[in-house]
Symmetry: D2
Subunit: 118 residues, 4 copies
């Protein structure tokens, strides 16, 4: 057993934010016209939480087009439509984390990309 340090806390916070984003916004009714606005709001919503340094959200327009119900003209936001890039700053530690759709595994993978000391 070892002491919990700032790096652990920073990485933990990055995980919290991606898990929260996913389960808050997946299921939102969408069409292609509103993707830009929704991307910005998700960024703002996650960005107001503690330790978020920056965040970028992209929703895959082609997937939305394909999933839009032909009769009703909309679909729901799915995890695999999301590409999220997130920076957490905790004390002097910056963590870069990401969520993107892994086509081979058919799974929205979340991962830590980079850890830096300021």
């Amino acid at each position: 057993m070892t002491e919990i340090n700032n790096r652990d806390r920073a990485v933990f916070e990055a995980g919290i934010k991606l898990g929260a984003l996913y389960h808050q916004f997946v299921g939102t009714p969408i069409n292609t016209d509103m993707l830009n606005g929704l991307e910005r709001i998700i960024e703002e919503s996650i960005g107001v939480q503690p330790f978020v340094r920056s965040i970028s959200v992209i929703i895959d327009t082609n997937m939305v087009k394909e999933k839009q119900n032909p009769e009703f003209g909309y679909c729901e936001l799915e995890g695999r439509m999301l590409h999220v890039s997130l920076q957490v700053l905790y004390k002097n530690i910056i963590v870069q984390a990401e969520m993107f759709y892994d086509k081979e595994k058919d799974y929205p993978l979340m991962s830590v990309k980079k850890i830096e000391e300021m």
Copy 2:
């Protein structure tokens, strides 16, 4: 037992939309700066669904201010912060429905306000 008519279907759709809005967006991390953007996105998201003629969403800024955590500067969207006014059009029937916070009952009440034939 009686036949289900267009009025029933219109009223039913209005109920669906308000229930959906509530449980999709309550819990969203917010601060006062992003309320305007979030209101518009909720309107768009509910508006892409079938039979929605118009929708207006207002989030109570004062409640958000009061609920914002002093240390972390944000809170979560709660049902009682929402004032929603919705028009559903099904065939020739317009239903006006509403969600607003009933302070006395301490409850976010949803109700049908008006039903019109076009």
Copy 3:
């Protein structure tokens, strides 16, 4: 314009409950072992809300099996996996409503099935 009556209110409540159920529980991580338990909890959760007389929830085991990620052994609850049958009682009016997956439209349809006066 016409007066809002008990039938309208009953039908409206049925819509609210189905919309709420959908957007609260869709996205829940599941595997086939826990479907029974989750069905009961969704029934209880919707059942504690006003005017719900009875509710039955069935999650499509075969769809879950097909969607379970082969590497990780789970998937998420989707709207099309849900078959819900709901009775609302408002004053003297009973409304029977339903959500089921319409394969042809590839859409989880919600509809009013029956309205009765007690």
Copy 4:
């Protein structure tokens, strides 16, 4: 900048799970009778996800009693009602993490409690 290691990955996964749990289940309509069942289902739902070794969820009965609407006899699950204890196992690393309500900060705090190598 340093290499991402198993400890980072384990801690990151713990964060994901707590963020996911929170935003999936907060908002669920509840009364005191169904808390036990809901606790078990949340445990199962988070437990089917990768790398979860064990999880224990307790919902604060007294808070639920206080928040239950007197007229309607139910309330919604809130973050501050949740006490969650979670173990993640990634490769040879066990992370113990927790969510509990910090009364002083009026905030549902998530934290890493312990990191062990097996």
